[in-house]
């Protein structure tokens, strides 16, 4: 039994959030930084797409971090465009 690729990414994002929850105000920034530093381009794209289309299975902290990720990606995109 295996999770689908997207389910795995959602699970991973929530897990990263749960392990950084204690950092309070800094938590979302830390989760965002983690995703930015360690996730591959395709993984980032999928989780951002999921956030924009549904996002219901993401924990609130994971959601905040991925919103930040979406924002930074669109900034980079418009900067390079």
């Amino acid at each position: 039994m295996s999770r689908s690729q997207l389910d795995t990414l959602i699970h991973m994002a929530n897990q990263i959030a749960a392990n950084n929850a204690h950092y309070g105000d800094d938590a979302a920034e830390r989760v965002y930084t983690h995703l930015k530093k360690f996730w591959a381009r395709s993984m980032k794209r999928q989780i951002v797409d999921y956030l924009q289309q549904d996002g219901s299975e993401l924990s609130p902290l994971a959601r905040q971090a991925i919103e930040r990720l979406a924002q930074s990606q669109s900034e980079t995109h418009s900067a390079s465009a």
């Binding site: 991973m12 749960a18 530093k37």
Partner: protein, 971 residues
């Protein structure tokens, strides 16, 4: 003008010659003592024996029972000397030097005594020197010559031991007591060097004889076959069977073992290009002349008939392999990779570097991925073992590596071992640890299992925190809570060396009463008082050292646990000097090196992030191509992407992901989804059965390069025989890069190291010339540290101040599982190595020819399971069947197995649960149910069919039959 060496004008040689035996161990003392031996003035450290002092002046006193890796014993009396003003003829091995002492080592009286001693020895020794396996390497023969023995006046008809029976039970060495002179070197080696105490002298006087265990055969005794006794034996009593069969070696080459992360140095003793035996090298700084059963004896796989010798290709995995030349195989692979990238995009392919290959080879594979594939889809097996170490230590201490040398343990007062089983997985270091424990260091073990280190002979009072699997972080927080709440922290260290804001936040976090041992007891299952005692023991020790293994990293909170360990070490000031530190025990020989060499998808060599433009610029200038600024896929992400149809080709060098990675059925599904799988290996491993291109690899005996061990020590690997298939692994990667249109040109691995040194700040001072000069180098090695850095973080951390990390305990998904009431944890045993591809092809099979499931008597009784029954182990990922072994080493509720045999399917059960930060799989916690069964699992039956089919295809078997079997296997 000729210059003669005149010891009178030269101080005692400071340079230690590893090939020489100085008779007794070195003594370290700042007080120096001057004496005269045979008229030669010599100055040595206080406590040195007269025998060693003489040897240092190149005065060689005859000896038999003495050896410089063993404490003096004084039994053979051959090393007797005369000392002015003293009575009798004392043994020089047991006589320490004294100021002004005047020693005579040769005169008529001594000569007569020595000749008489030898005469007695030889009166009970077979005179078959010409046909004896030790001929050419026999200290008894040498001594008979040295003392001028010409006759044995007693004759040979008296009572003797010449008919004593040989014990051939060990597959690697024989024990022929008829040749034994009862010098006790073997017994002492077993005690002092190895620390197993399996040998003893039984009986008294003439009846004295060497016995294994309770007078058992060697194989039935506690003997772990490390071979220290064989190496110590001055005669042919204990002798390698390979020497008995082949004769004495004629030359030797110093190289580095290809098994565990201890990285022992060996002399490969050769006849031509054939290895006769491997002898641990006394000049090796990691092992000081000791070894284990794997390194010393299990090298026969290198010439096993299963070795792949020809490149092979096939269109699909149901087709027979077709033998082709190197050029065709490489062209086929390159053409496929290019076609796949053209069709599915640049990111649809990737590569896996090997922690069993050299630094140079690993560097080239990641370079191939980044420069020729033009993406960052590179990863390595460290993903599944020590990736949390990289993350956790870099975050807290600023460098992704252990802080100490192995020798540092000899200064430790308290040794904490967390989630590691050194006697099995790092045996040579375990021997050193045990030596320190016998000297009186305290031991704290944090592990669900009662590991063998807890049973160290002549050590008492070890503390064992037998926690529930998956609760490490709760435990480390509780230990830190005790330190902080009881005021045991090192305030000076914290104030001077650590970031203040981070520390305050952590302090507040850790002082919360929920971390108190009394409140954590319900989670870990360990009584609070035990936790408090252990915390006090560690914090109050002058030197406390933490050693940890995969029982720390292979968890859903592996990275948190590594950071928790670093927190504890910083809080107690146990960083930055000898005897302390945070020490990951690495699994494979070159895990440290493969991580250093940029195998991870987010980091270029030297842990430099791909997102850093300045870093990329340097690599781009050197490599002449732009480098992707986004991290690539990790191994588990590659599998997921393959199953999803986005990832289509993979180049795997020297790894067996189909056997070693978790959730086998998912891995198999991923491998079957690939349109091109290129496997470079010395055998048709499990992964290769799914491959389209098979490139024969070379063993460590067939190549030049370097390995980096767990203490950051870079050691040379030297070629002793030509590669069986004609190419060293690095040459194959070079060919593939060139075929892909990215030019690579190297004539020798030393040029690859030069390139590494130019791009990696911690390696700037490393070169082959420097390695030859120094023997080995512990990185960082650069302008500031031209000889490397044995102990890290002495003055400051690479990030300036140490960073405390907040490590909240988050329970693993695997813990809250009602359908599966037991917890499975997996591990290793001494005689087998990792996936077993090497050791299963040696006589090490005699110790462990199948993986078994260990379970507690209470759990067995509940399920009606008896020792030896077949049991099915089921998790949410799958099922497999193993034989049960009832063992109280496990706490109730926990079961254990190893993964050395592919058909066992241990990883069919392990799940996709992984570390939050690095995706390192949670091998150490899988919720399972166990029940009695009568037949192999469905996966195992399918495995057997598929295995048979692939072996058939390797021999060029019938395609139709193959196709049928394959579709059957897919059911």
């Amino acid at each position: 003008m000729l210059n003669y060496y005149d010891p009178k004008q030269t101080p005692a040689p400071q340079h230690f010659l590893p090939e020489r035996d100085y008779g007794t161990p070195a003594r370290l003392s700042e007080t120096l003592v001057s004496l005269e031996i045979d008229g030669v003035a010599i100055t040595v450290p206080e406590g040195t024996s007269v025998l060693r002092a003489a040897a240092l002046a190149d005065i060689n006193i005859p000896k038999l029972c003495a050896s410089d890796n063993l404490e003096a014993f004084g039994s053979c009396r051959l090393c007797a000397v005369q000392i002015e003003g003293r009575r009798g003829l004392p043994a020089s091995c047991t006589t320490p030097v004294a100021a002004g002492m005047k020693v005579t080592t040769q005169n008529a009286r001594l000569a007569k005594l020595r000749r008489n001693v030898m005469e007695l020895y030889i009166s009970d020794h077979p005179l078959d020197c010409l046909t004896c396996p030790a001929n050419g390497d026999c200290e008894l023969q040498d001594m008979a010559g040295a003392v001028g023995l010409r006759e044995v006046r007693y004759g040979f008809d008296g009572e003797n031991h010449l008919d004593a029976e040989t014990d051939d039970s060990n597959p690697y060495f024989s024990f022929d007591p008829s040749k034994c002179i009862v010098c006790s070197r073997c017994v002492r080696a077993c005690e002092e060097v190895q620390g197993t105490f399996a040998l003893t002298i039984e009986g008294r006087g003439f009846e004295s004889k060497v016995a294994a265990g309770q007078s058992e055969a060697f194989m039935d005794s506690e003997c772990v076959s490390c071979g220290a006794c064989v190496q110590a034996c001055p005669t042919s009593t204990l002798m390698e069977k390979s020497v008995i069969e082949q004769g004495q070696p004629e030359h030797s080459v110093v190289t580095t073992c290809a098994y565990c992360g201890v990285g022992c140095s060996f002399k490969a003793e050769m006849q031509g290009d054939r290895v006769v035996r491997m002898v641990p090298y006394k000049g090796g700084d990691a092992n000081h002349g000791h070894s284990c059963v794997k390194g010393r004896f299990a090298f026969g796989y290198a010439t096993h008939p299963d070795r792949l010798k020809t490149p092979m290709i096939r269109e699909s995995i149901d087709q027979p392999w077709r033998e082709v030349g190197w050029e065709e195989a490489i062209a086929f692979a390159a053409q496929r990779l290019k076609a796949i990238q053209a069709k599915y995009g640049r990111e649809s392919i990737g590569g896996i570097t090997s922690s069993r290959c050299t630094n140079e080879e690993t560097y080239l594979v990641q370079k191939l991925v980044r420069a020729a594939f033009r993406n960052n889809n590179t990863d390595t097996c460290a993903r599944v073992c020590h990736s949390p170490t990289g993350y956790g230590l870099k975050t807290t201490l600023g460098e992704s590596a252990g802080t100490q040398t192995f020798d540092s343990v000899m200064q430790a007062d308290v040794i904490v071992v967390i989630g590691a089983n050194p006697t099995d997985a790092h045996p040579v270091f375990a021997s050193q640890m045990r030596r320190r424990l016998r000297q009186g260091a305290e031991l704290i073990v944090v592990d669900p299992r009662r590991i063998d280190l807890l049973k160290t002979p002549h050590h008492r009072g070890a503390q064992h925190l037998a926690l529930r699997p998956g609760t490490n972080v709760a435990m480390i927080n509780a230990l830190a809570h005790v330190v902080m709440s009881e005021g045991l922290e090192d305030r000076e260290f914290i104030a001077k060396r650590c970031d203040a804001a981070g520390y305050q936040a952590w302090r507040e976090f850790i002082l919360d009463p929920r971390h108190a041992p009394e409140n954590v007891e319900a989670i870990t299952g360990v009584p609070a008082e035990q936790v408090r005692r252990a915390a006090r023991t560690y914090a109050q020790a002058p030197n406390g050292a933490i050693y940890y293994g995969l029982g720390v990293t292979e968890h859903s909170q592996g990275s948190s646990m590594v950071m928790g360990i670093a927190n504890l070490a910083m809080a107690t000031g146990n960083i930055g000097r000898e005897g302390v530190g945070v020490n990951p025990l690495r699994g494979q020989n070159n895990v440290q090196g493969s991580c250093d060499m940029g195998s991870f998808p987010h980091e270029l060599p030297g842990y430099q992030h791909v997102g850093d433009p300045a870093v990329r610029e340097r690599f781009e200038a050197a490599w002449g191509v732009p480098i992707d600024d986004e991290p690539g896929l990790r191994i588990p992400n590659m599998f997921d992407a393959a199953v999803a149809g986005e990832f289509k080709a993979l180049y795997v060098q020297g790894e067996d992901i189909a056997q070693s990675d978790p959730n086998t059925q998912h891995v198999e599904q991923a491998l079957r989804s690939l349109e091109c799988l290129i496997v470079q290996d010395i055998f048709l491993n499990e992964t290769a059965k799914f491959a389209h291109v098979l490139l024969p690899g070379s063993s460590f005996l067939e190549k030049d390069g370097t390995f980096t061990n767990a203490e950051r020590r870079i050691n040379r690997v030297r070629k002793v025989m030509p590669p069986l298939a004609g190419k060293q692994d690095w040459e194959v990667t070079v060919d593939l890069a060139n075929a892909l249109g990215y030019p690579m040109h190297y004539d020798h691995p030393s040029q690859i190291m030069d390139e590494i040194a130019g791009l990696t700040p911690s390696f700037t001072g490393v070169s082959y010339a420097r390695l030859d000069e120094l023997g080995s180098i512990q990185w960082p090695c650069n302008e500031a540290y031209p000889k490397g850095m044995p102990t890290m973080h002495v003055e400051d951390f690479p990030i300036g101040l140490g960073q405390f990390a907040i490590t909240d305990y988050v329970a693993s998904d695997e813990l809250s599982n009602r359908r599966f009431p037991l917890l499975l944890t997996t591990g290793r045993i001494l005689s087998q190595y990792n996936v077993g591809a090497q050791t299963r092809r040696t006589h090490n099979q005699a110790w462990h020819d199948e993986d078994v499931l260990e379970l507690h008597p209470a759990d067995a009784e509940l399920r009606g399971v008896r020792d030896g029954d077949w049991v099915g182990i089921t998790s949410r990922a799958g099922q497999t069947v193993l034989r049960a072994r009832i063992s109280d080493r496990m706490p109730p509720g926990v079961v254990y197995t190893t993964f050395h045999h592919p058909g066992s399917g241990a990883n069919v059960i392990t799940t996709d649960s992984s570390d939050w930060a690095t995706n390192c799989p949670e091998y150490k916690v899988t919720a399972v149910q166990v029940e009695k069964v009568s037949q192999p699992s469905a996966w195992q039956r399918q495995f057997q069919t598929f295995d048979r089919l692939q072996l058939e295809l390797l021999r060029g078997g019938n395609k139709d039959e193959a196709g049928q079997a394959l579709s059957g296997a897919g059911e």
